[in-house]
Subunit: 593 residues, 2 copies
């Protein structure tokens, strides 16, 4: 098959799009693969759609290979199933909702757990029908607060989502492993570097959960790995509590004037000047910083939450988001502080925080603030922290002796060198793009929607589910992101829109005819060829070839006078001259046909 | 490839679904091809999706073959382009509208003319870029007032829509013919009977327009054909005005008491009794019936419209809808009549209707009613009609002499035997399902959205467009509708989910093993096999095989004792016995491999 550039519906751009934050976005737009229609919503042009179809087909083949059966649910869905699972509410503003002409509430499917569960409930009634793997490749809609990076975080996108249905945990484990294996094959075939990490399962519920991340410095996700093999999304890292300390020798807590200490650094400097510590200088990690958030639950209920953590760390917003999900946390505003005069901004301490020791059924006072602390803040540790009065701090406040938090919350930023929770050594941080997510849902949806089948003894038993997703449209961008360079796109062969570009680079019929002939011979052998037959200068064609990114190019140009053409490799940039008569065979060998 | 019935995600139903109005809907649900999620919204089960994918692929191949390039637009779209074309308003309640989290108005694309037009405007700027054919296969959303018949009229459905872009009418004509040719190939391959008819282009604007209708007694569309080759959707039939008459000898109009004449029949009987006509008895077609409607325009403006037509015909609601579209017409209610006391219900006549002869810029009186008449109501014709007084009619009212309508409107029902407007003979009526629609849009969208390119002289020129649609998901139902019988589905080979079903019909390892072996040998030769390996009775398997509708079945059963198996043809119901050793070869020959 030959496509002629002179007829291809494409226009390459010399300028970056204004909203392009990451290379894949920049190049996919500039090379004419996609176009923006609205924030987070894109159209596919012919070149982009060819890549998309190839990715889709790889995903489909590997799902079929593990015996998964393809179905397709609508994008437009009734409210009721999502009401039953509580996600109509939990999804909050991320859900596109609408009302039809008869007044019925509807939504655009952000994910289809409910629909799969109901479908299996409709069709299956016996353990003999299980295990069962179902999947679909379908458009999803999420009204992201911050759509960004082109296809990487869109509001309309394509996912492959599959679900496994089993009678018990052992079955679920096997189904999970089957999907894990299929995902490894898919990502290996797509041809980019990836890592498999433990994942927090967020709003989805369930237990075992892993993510497949494309390694990318621009990725939205941060992950950690240890020398001993620990790998996790930072959102899923739960640091081990520090060792408890014996506070016997710690002096009694004492309040000090710290008149000019708006930051941790100034506080430490003042402390060392005004009330030096007996054993060593005060350091940032001796201070206990308290940050307070307003947490809004999906049902609209709000509560105040204070997080206490060592002063040398910040709260990681994404880890916090993940920890409180499906609720949403926002920093306290000046107004929020005014409403709670006990909280002295900049000088908050543990003594003004916490719900206290409540007996069963007792409710905390209305102005009480839930107080959760970092795993470093264990019993016996001593802290320099706010004294709940403007310009004052308290030193040697000891956990367990002087105050008792309401619990732990590990939402501090993870740092290079932090220890892996499994004892496998210090963590290194890197970034990635979430490409796949597999997790054991368990019975959450089956219970909410009543999916039960008869077991071997004729008793009804709730089905156990696994959920497995791949961002198909996102994968196009992730492959682009992982393979592009400073000249443009650089596709792996498995997903390139065309196997080969053949280019006539120079004037005269002989050059054009030779390019046509080589293209025709390759096409006859089943190669998909992009023929640059435009009346344009070699310079323009070279630049576009690099921008468009076919893995192999054949340049028919001045060398033809010597009976030669050039075969170029997009990735390495290398070029070699071959005799015209050998060109087709050389290309076939190079592309592995 | 082999799929085992024991593992296939399917459940056949013995009962018809409650809402099934047409055979295709009934069988697709009962055979486990689709499931209803909400009114007009369906999920695809594995068998249905296989048929869908085959239809999609046939459409794609034929579009590619005429050089059309595939793109894909989002389903979720911003309001602005549809505002520019006025369709945000014109679509009325048929459009699914929603508001995103930032308050932006959005819609679910009912069709994508605007998006294609803008995309070409973005990428093309010269006549050298044309002609251009673009297409997509994408989900569409329309909030139909009366979703019905399963996939035949849904609210979420898949269309292939393509557009051609040309510099002039000659180019558009050629593009139109190219698409027409591709559509003929597509519908020939799909394997059902169809007819190509002239079509009213409805809300789409434009001129030349044809529909491809699957011939089906349950079809929503009515079409006519004549012996001389005229073929049109009834909505597109414009009867020729009758010959004008010389009214010289017609007596002066005279009002008669017709005390008990609520219907045309009673009126005719009374007229013949009370004031007989001089030449022959009064007949129903001598009466002029006036029907008045409230027409609501997309912008909310309403007007009264009276239609005058011979008393032996009724207004065809669909022809009226099509004629007034995008406005909507509803019959006058009692309230509407009360608001216009000049209109005497049951006794309305031309003298109370019509806007009168208005000079330029003059507006009609506020209670005036626009009056359009049937093409039979031409100057010189004489009529028996209402006298605008209860219990009175007027005879011998002559068009042109006694009253002048505001114009013609041909919305009377078309009847078998009516003459074709092109003089090609009497019309016959039949019904069909609209499967494809091709039409010359012209410059409507290009003008609304500013799509111009430079012509050969360097002048900007508005592009001329054609629009070509196929209902891809509807085609699945149309094929089912056109081929099913009283036992179930009966797929043509081109779209059957599996080429062959192999069935073990009887107990014992030998039967099961033989079925397995035949299935395996067929699969090795590239045949897609559905193997019914269930532990079920032959009767259940036979019934399911007929319900599911694979074109060819191999039955391995009792005949195996004689070394034979049976090959069954689903369509003819014929069965023949062949030696086990010949079975694979016989099947391959039968299915044309």
């Amino acid at each position: 098959m030959i496509t002629r550039m002179s007829q291809l519906f494409v226009r390459t751009l010399r300028e970056d799009p204004a909203d392009a934050e990451v290379p894949s976005h920049r190049w996919l737009v500039r090379a004419g693969y996609i176009r923006r229609v609205a924030p987070g919503i894109y159209s596919w042009l012919p070149l982009g759609l060819r890549v998309y179809h190839k990715v889709e087909q790889i995903v489909r083949e590997e799902m079929d290979a593990i015996g998964a059966q393809e179905v397709r649910f609508p994008g437009l869905l009734p409210r009721e199933p999502y009401e039953a699972s509580n996600r109509w509410t939990e999804y909050g503003d991320n859900l596109f909702r609408l009302v039809d002409r008869k007044g019925a509430d509807m939504l655009l499917g952000p994910t289809h757990e409910e629909m799969f569960t109901l479908m299996v409930k409709d069709l299956c009634n016996s353990y003999k029908d299980l295990p069962l793997f179902l999947y679909q490749i379908q458009i999803k809609y999420r009204d992201e607060a911050r759509p960004r990076a082109g296809l990487l975080r869109g509001r309309e996108f394509v996912m492959k989502d599959s679900y496994s249905f089993d009678m018990d945990q052992a079955g679920l484990d096997a189904s999970y492993q089957a999907h894990r294996g299929a995902y490894i094959k898919i990502f290996d075939r797509l041809g980019f570097d990836y890592v498999i990490v433990n994942a927090h399962s967020g709003a989805m519920g369930g237990s075992a959960s892993e993510e497949f991340l494309a390694i990318a410095s621009n990725g939205e996700d941060t992950f950690v790995v240890s020398p001993g093999g620990f790998a996790a999304n930072v959102e899923a890292v739960q640091r081990r509590p520090a060792a408890e300390q014996d506070p016997t020798d710690v002096p009694a807590a004492k309040v000090h004037d710290t008149p000019d200490s708006p930051t941790i650094d100034t506080l430490v400097a003042q402390a060392n000047a005004l009330f030096p510590r007996e054993d060593r200088p005060w350091q940032a990690h001796d201070t206990l910083k308290n940050v307070v958030f307003k947490v809004t639950h999906p049902d609209g209920r709000t509560e105040a939450l204070a997080v206490g953590l060592p002063g040398d760390r910040e709260v990681d917003v994404k880890r916090l988001e993940s920890a409180v999900s499906p609720a949403v946390a926002e920093p306290f505003t000046d107004e929020d502080f005014q409403a709670r005069p006990k909280l002295v901004k900049g000088y908050m301490g543990p003594l003004a925080l916490g719900l206290g020791q409540l007996a069963d059924g007792q409710t905390p006072p209305p102005d009480a603030v839930r107080y959760l602390v970092d795993p470093a803040v264990v019993p016996g540790t001593r802290w320099l922290t706010g004294a709940d009065e403007f310009g004052k701090h308290v030193a040697d406040l000891v956990v367990g002796r002087d105050f008792t938090p309401d619990g732990y919350l590990d939402v501090a930023e993870i740092r290079d060198g932090d220890l892996a929770p499994d004892g496998s050594g210090p963590l290194s941080l890197a970034r990635g793009i979430e490409m796949g997510h597999i997790f054991q849902l368990g019975t959450k949806y089956a219970e909410a929607l009543g999916l039960k089948v008869l077991d071997a003894n004729g008793k009804l038993q709730t089905v156990t589910m696994g959920s497995y997703g791949i961002g198909v449209s996102r994968a196009v961008a992730a492959v682009a992101e992982g393979t592009c360079d400073e000249k443009g796109l650089c596709w792996p062969r498995a997903v390139a829109p065309y196997d080969v570009e053949v280019m006539s680079a120079g004037k005269g019929d002989q050059i054009a005819d030779t390019a046509e002939r080589i293209a025709a011979e390759l096409a006859e052998r089943g190669v998909c060829v992009l023929l640059d037959d435009r009346k344009a200068s070699p310079g323009v064609k070279f630049a576009d070839a690099e921008l468009l990114g076919m893995p192999t190019s054949v340049v028919v140009g001045r060398l033809l006078a010597d009976g030669k053409v050039e075969i170029r490799d997009r990735k390495s940039g290398s070029a070699r001259q071959v005799l015209v008569g050998d060109a087709v065979a050389e290309v076939l060998a190079e592309i592995g046909r």
